[in-house]
Amino acid sequence: MTKLKEHKPSKMEALKAMTPADRRRAIFDGIMNNAMFIIIALVIIYVAIKNPRFLSVPSLVNIISLTAAKLPIALGVGGCIILAGTDISAGRQVGLAACISAGLQLTTNKLFPGLQVMPIPVVLLCVLVACALVGLVNGFFMAKFKLHPFIVTLSTQLIVYGLVLLFMQLGTNGGQTLSGMSEGYRNFIIKPLFTLKTSSGPVTVPRYVLYSAIITTLVWVIWNKTAFGKNMYAVGSNEEAANVSGVNVSKTIILVFVMAGMLYGITGFMDAARIASVNATTGLNYEADAIAACVIGGISFVGGIGKVSGAIIGVLLLQIIFAGLNFLSVDANYLYIVKGLIILIACSIDMRKYLVRK
């Protein structure tokens, strides 16, 4: 994002001095580098014309709430991408967290018959520990055996899914969907933070928007204001150089994945209460949305590049597109095709920047 800002003024000045051929190329480059934003702007305009309710307050609050719900997982995956890696176990970890959260908060518990509703801090701690452990496994195999992140997280994705399925078989549940969570837990997450009065009635902003904002701030501080954050960017941009420069590369990789795990945990913890019904497929394909959001927001697969603001913009734009398609009454099945195309296009545009420079 800043890169664009830095280059723009000099480009404008230089544009006039160029030959027509160079000018055409410069303009084309400018369009290509911002293609994702241009496409999204066009989508917004198109949808708003077709269905003006798209830009109404309830719709916008809905988009912001969904963005808040998806932001922690995107930030987790973002850290992995900055390391020049990826994490395809993210969605299953969210599922694990959601199942644990729900399982410990049922009013009539079939998983653990006779278990009282647990205090919320205990539940959160269980979820964070469980997902941090998965992250630890991910990071450990990457750091110590230099395995490709894709291979490691593919394995843990399968393992975590298996664990979730087994978890859902506990007690007399027999793999059934979990619903009927305690009021306290649901309120903790979705109770209105404040209510906006609009012409079409009151619109509430749920509490988890605040939680998400706090977490995002925390991640921003960690990425930008701690040695660990600096080391993460360093390892992502040049692992060898980081090793020579006194960075503990293994520790950095492991910590990034542990932190990612905890962020997935929080996502799952919020999602269980938000959706109110959880089963083994909860979280399926969440990593696809998260990865798409990151690449739209300029967190590059080249490694070492990416900002928290990028992740926020990415998630927001993605939710705008989904909401827009919804307003156009597009068949939900098309969403997958759209997501796939977005990842493909966003990555191509991103890589193009680096190809040109050679």
Binding site: S10, A14, A17, T226, A227, N238, E240, A241, V244, G246
Partner: protein, 501 residues
């Protein structure tokens, strides 16, 4: 082909290339006669590689003409240039490392038998070129198993195999040993005798004087002079290149070595050929490490710094044993290592100058618990930008957009911020232009004057003789001997370097 020396093979006239805000080339001329070696010289950033990129169509020139044997040409890419007999041996090798030598030679133009590639034809054709050039490499060797120098030879053979009339060598000797340089020169002389025109880009003065017929000097994107090599002395060339007189290549030596400070005993590598290396270094001393490529010079530094596993060996600093098991520990113990390959193990290319500067000394900035102060990071970075006179638009500039010399200054700044007592410098001036080299020599001597111990590896012997107090000579992973820099000769060092080969 005409062997008349006056036949002009390649003529570039008034080549101009502008980038937004910068005039990279301004009416540059270059005329290469058949059967001659034409050296192209200039500091980093003078426009040598931009000129070559215009020739090969990597950049489109804004103005000017290129004539090949009298015909105007305008190549769109290097493939087209190759087809017209213009080839380039790149400084940085682009090879398919996991494939073998002959695959790399014939990539993109495999000899065929019917619809199938023919291994036999490929082998024979490769051997023919190798025999012709006197290269002793098995065409079936996998690229990645060969040393860089041999890979470079393959690259040269590939350029020759196109029956090229004009061949550009871009810093071909930067990773070659003395004997390999001799071999390369033999090949170049042979090509010259066949009537090829050679464009030779290098920073090494002695080589240029030996090999070239004509010299063209560029400065700041402009053509400065083209003269017969015989008419120019080394001093003249430097003067033309920097636009001012460099009276001395090396600053005066003012450091006085004190008492013994660093002791290295029985250093032996676990996974490399390093064997039983022991030496001592004093406070305020610049200790050189000479030797051929892969003689273990780099391994000595990296083993001391703990990024190579030691099988045996102790390191004692000021009487205290140092374990140095990893870079973090070594930094705490007061060591710093400037690595040889700046791109691969030095810079964080996509990150900015500030982050590249502070990465090894983040603890200095922990002003509020675990949180880093931005202000102190900015101050530290600015201090070293000023102190080293690093040329950069801002602290937020990506380091990869700086020139090699400026990148090196940033990395040296990074290490000085760790407040080291012992500096391990591996080829500190590689790929850096004359002016910046002088500054780095001065810096090394200043550090010695402050009482720091400097260990310096270099392939350029004049540099070692000019800057060091003593020189250790490595050979075949062992310490072959030690010489006093004031009373030794290059011959003595070379003899020692060949001791265990």
């Amino acid at each position: 082909m005409d062997k008349n020396n006056e036949t002009v093979l390649l003529r570039m006239e008034g080549i101009t290339k502008e980038f937004p805000g910068v005039k990279a080339l301004d009416g540059v001329n270059l005329t290469v006669r058949a059967g001659t070696v034409h050296a192209l010289m200039g500091e980093n950033g003078a426009g040598k590689s931009t000129l070559m990129k215009c020739l090969f169509g990597v950049y489109s020139k804004d103005a000017g003409h290129i004539y090949l044997e009298g015909q105007e040409v305008n190549f769109k890419n290097s493939k087209e240039a190759l087809e017209h007999g213009v080839a380039m041996v790149h400084q940085e090798l682009n090879q398919a490392l996991k494939r073998n030598v002959m695959d790399n030679m014939w990539l993109g133009r495999f000899p065929m038998t019917g619809p199938f590639t023919s291994e036999k034809k490929m082998y024979d054709a490769t051997m023919e070129v190798f025999n012709d050039l006197g290269i002793n490499v098995n065409p079936k060797t996998i690229m990645s198993t060969m040393p860089v120098s041999q890979r470079q030879m393959v690259e040269i053979a590939k350029a020759v195999s196109f029956n090229s009339k004009v061949i550009v060598f871009d810093e071909p000797t930067s990773s070659l040993t003395e004997t390999e340089v001799e071999h390369l020169f033999k090949i170049i002389n042979m090509l010259r005798d066949r009537g090829c025109g050679i464009i030779y880009i290098s920073h090494k003065m002695a080589e240029i004087k030996r090999i070239s017929d004509d010299i063209t000097v560029m400065r700041d994107g402009q053509w400065v002079a083209t003269r017969p090599a015989a008419e120019l002395e080394m001093g003249d060339i430097i003067k033309l290149m920097v636009g001012r007189e460099l009276t001395n290549q090396f600053p005066p030596k003012t450091n006085v070595p004190g008492e013994t400070y660093l002791k290295v005993e029985h250093l032996t590598g676990m996974y490399n050929q390093l064997k039983d290396v022991s030496f001592e270094a004093k406070r305020g001393e610049v200790l050189g490490l000479a030797g051929l490529d892969s003689s273990g010079r780099t391994e000595v530094l990296e083993s001391i710094f703990g990024i190579r596993t030691r099988k045996e060996g102790t390191i004692t600093l000021d009487g205290k044993p140092c374990k140095n098991r990893n870079s973090g520990e070594s930094i705490k113990n007061g060591f710093a290592l400037l690595t040889e390959e700046r791109r691969a193990t030095g810079i964080f290319g996509v990150r900015n100058i500030r982050e590249n500067t502070v990465i090894s000394s983040l603890n200095r900035h922990k002003k509020f618990g675990p949180f880093l102060s931005s202000k102190s990071q900015v101050e530290d970075t600015q201090y070293y930008i000023d102190a080293m006179r690093t040329k950069t638009p801002s602290q937020e500039t990506q380091i990869r957009s700086l020139s090699g010399g400026n990148q090196q200054k940033v990395i040296i700044g990074r290490w000085l911020l760790t407040e080291p007592e012992v500096l391990l410098l591996d080829e500190p001036t590689r790929g850096i232009d004359v002016g910046a080299k002088y500054e780095i020599y001065q810096l090394i001597l200043n550090l010695a004057n402050e009482g720091k111990t400097v260990l310096m590896v270099s392939s350029e012997m004049p540099e070692l003789l000019g800057v060091c107090d003593r020189i250790l000579v490595m050979s075949g992973g062992r310490l072959a001997g030690e010489v006093d820099a004031k009373n030794t000769t290059q011959e003595e060092i070379m003899t020692l370097a060949a001791k265990y080969v």
